[in-house]
Amino acid sequence: MSVSVPTAPLVAMTGISKTYGGTLACDDVDLTVRAGEVHALLGENGAGKSTLMRVLSGDVTDHHGTVAIEGRPTRFGSPHDAQRAGIAMIPQELDLVPGLSIAANIFLGRELRTRAGIIDVRRMNRETGDLLARTGITLDPKRHVGELRTGEQQLVAIAKALALDAKVLIMDEPTSALSPAEVTRMFAVITELRAAGAGIVYISHRMEEISRIADRATVLRNGRVAAAFATADLTVAQVTEALVGRPVQALFRTEHGSTGRELLRLTDFALRPRRTRPGRREPDGVSLSVRAGEIVGLGGLLGSGRTELLETLFGAGTPGRRHGELRVRDRVVRPRRPRQAMRLGMALVPEDRRISGLALSHSIRANTVLSIVDRIAVGGYVPRKRETGAVRRVVDELKIKIGGLGDAANTLSGGNQQKIVLGRALLTEPSLLLLDEPTRGVDVGAKAEIYQLLREAAGRGIGILLASSEPAELVGLCDRVVVLHDGRSVRELDTRDAGEAELLAAAMGEGRTAAAVGGES
């Protein structure tokens, strides 16, 4: 098959500028995307990537500079215009309707109809099944999107974009919720699209992905183009340096410190829910332990039950009967509410800070002290000074970059939002910290800072149980990693002598029989 290469690039954006209030979000940015290439767009949060892409997808219309599609200068009046011009975007905040089925979401606004004019559900379901197969997952097209987990929703969003047969596909951190295997499958889809002559703009924080998939890359910093290069020419370290504008030390420096007494011990821990909720993988035979001063990783594929385990430990999971044993500081406990778990010294940093971490429209102050307001209150009254003191302490210690304490949480970058959630957990002075994907959607700089904070916390004797879908994070940060598969702990790896490859293999379920139920018993 010969693809006739047009002389003009698929997309040529020149001199794009856009201001919000007094801030320059984009300042004279150029970007070209050719047919058949994957163009990586890099930059820390707030560097201007999203604004640039909102211009391209017709969401921002009052910008300076020109956008040319296949050589023709174009000015989109709405996202709809951009879609008609063949530009599709998979935003980070997925635009799916939770109450509709997967098929209904994919064909939203352009439903297939039978000759009688009735919506052709059967054909939509069939075609959805094909699309999903292309993205490499098997899901029932009739299932409601709201029941799916974040990663699965991400894949549905990709399938939705595929259905548009777009010439230009913008993907904003498409892999942030995917398991390694799913990432591989998605990359296969990208390769397929690229061969068909589509241009792809790929936004990601994961350096290793950029070198794996992208042809060229543009790095934005403070709204300007900081560097543009072919990815083959550069190393991860160099890209990272271009990103933050200064050399960064290696992200991970695992120090296997001395550990103290055992804080948490699970023995064949399982939950039989009173009513099963679709799309959830409840704990089904988990054995692990966390000691004071130790960072224990929780690995496994998407749907292996990491989140469910943390929620159950924290008393926030599905109600049901527990089996096996859960001990906190040698005492058998069964927390049924987060409040009880907190009294036992636990704190949880939940998976999705926007959905379950923050009241986004509320102030930084209110969000930060939320867990301790009743503790600092005197007779029900919250003294302003003590409250401000506590918030200031968190902001200073965690180096959170904010305007004022009264600013809404949604004015902050992802990294700073995550630090607020972390800071709130630390304010409760926990002995056992449960973290669920603590660096998802966080830029490189903030990521390093969060790792540092976690290591410091461990150094102070806090035990940490950290669930992550990033193998590098698990291997680099944790002392040990417990791998879950189908809600069961299948392997335990010591990161001193095991790497990402072993972790992946364990997560895929290989060697499951050999490891039986972890290395505990």
Binding site: A316, P338, S356, H362, A366, T388, G403, D407, A408
Partner: protein, 346 residues
């Protein structure tokens, strides 16, 4: 003005504009919830009929009339603000008001109770009614809309049964079949017959609610639940307990309004307070509280209630046709609610 100062002087957690320099416009928008009231008030002055060189609208008589007429809706709306702040709704308040009015009349007239026991029993009944609705909603997970819609029917039914289906008149005096004269104070005015007692009660309730919402830990919990219930739960907030208590408080305030209603009208009728829930919701929303919860204030609600109350009087004073009045009121409510969206976007 320094950043430090600015953050120090802010009221409720959700009311501010994020991360902007405090310009005149921004400062102005901090009082956004009062816009509607100010505009309606200005309209009242502009269109006020003049008699003997005096603007009738601004006469103390008229102003106190407005506050008195707003008192019941206002007190209900304060409770409604709490419920809406946690992302709920309470459709039963009008019916609970009716139940409380009937209760006040029946307990004093038919059962010969004194004022204090009557008030206590009726308030307790309202509280319990609200708590039960809260339990149904928060513990059993039935939507507040449905729970309180059912509550509305149940309260009306109870009121009909308790009253025998008819209004129970309250005659004052001593002896059987009469209510203590003290209860009639609720319909009277103090300070040389100028300030209506219900207005004073309203002001006290509002002031307490404002202070409570600004300074208490409970209020923080309540805002957090409305802002993001899941985050609140994972932050260790006793979500169920807070919700149940908020519904209880709303029922309590509705009962208080019902007692005042009975005192003002010398009667407790099972039909009292019909559709008051809608007026209260309108006052809350017009005052800038978001129906989805987490954002709003009692100051706004009080302003909203006074605004709607003042509007009634303005339309009346200017002798507007009553059918046209409905039209104007509807438009003003939409406009005032729209005014709350004028906030400059960050």
């Amino acid at each position: 003005m320094s950043e430090q100062q600015r953050t120090e002087t802010r009221p409720e957690p959700a009311e501010f504009l994020p991360g902007r320099r405090a310009s005149v416009v921004d400062t102005l928008f901090r009082f956004q919830s009062l816009f509607g009231l100010v505009l309606v008030f200005a309209a009242g002055i502009v269109f006020s009929p003049v008699r003997d060189g005096e603007l009738i609208f601004l006469s103390s008589d008229n102003l106190f009339n407005i506050v008195r007429a707003t008192a019941e809706i206002g007190i209900i709306a304060v409770g409604m603000t709490f419920v809406i702040l946690i992302g709920g709704i309470d459709l039963s308040v009008g019916a609970v008001l009716g139940l409380a009015a009937v209760g006040s009349a029946v307990l004093m007239v038919n059962n010969g109770l004194g004022v204090l026991p009557t008030v206590l029993i009726v308030l307790l009944a309202g509280l319990v009614f609200g708590l039960l609705q809260g339990i149904a909603s928060a513990v059993w997970g039935i939507q507040a809309f449905i729970v309180t819609l059912a509550g509305l029917q149940i309260a009306r039914g109870l009121a009909r049964i308790w009253s025998g289906g008819q209004g129970v008149p309250i005659p004052y005096g001593d002896g059987p079949g009469k209510a203590p004269v003290a209860f009639s104070l609720l319909g009277e005015r103090t300070f040389n017959g100028l300030v209506p007692i219900p207005a004073i009660i309203f002001v006290i309730v509002a002031a307490l609610a404002i202070v409570f919402l600004r300074t208490s830990a409970f209020a923080r919990h309540l805002y957090a639940i409305g802002g993001n219930e899941k985050a609140a739960r994972l932050s260790g907030i006793p979500v169920v307990r807070v919700k149940v208590l908020v519904f209880g408080l709303c029922g309590l305030l509705a009962a208080l309004a019902g007692i005042i209603h009975a005192g003002q009208l010398n009667q407790g009728s099972p039909n009292d307070g019909n559709t008051y829930e809608l007026d209260a919701i309108a006052a809350v929303v017009v005052g800038g509280t978001a129906l989805q919860g987490g954002r709003g204030s009692v100051v706004g609600t009080v302003a909203g209630a006074l605004m709607l109350g003042a509007l009634n009087y303005i339309l009346g004073l200017n002798n507007i046709d009553s059918n046209v009045q409905l039209l104007i009121k509807g438009l003003v409510i939409v406009a005032a609610a729209g005014l709350q969206r004028l906030r400059p976007t960050p």
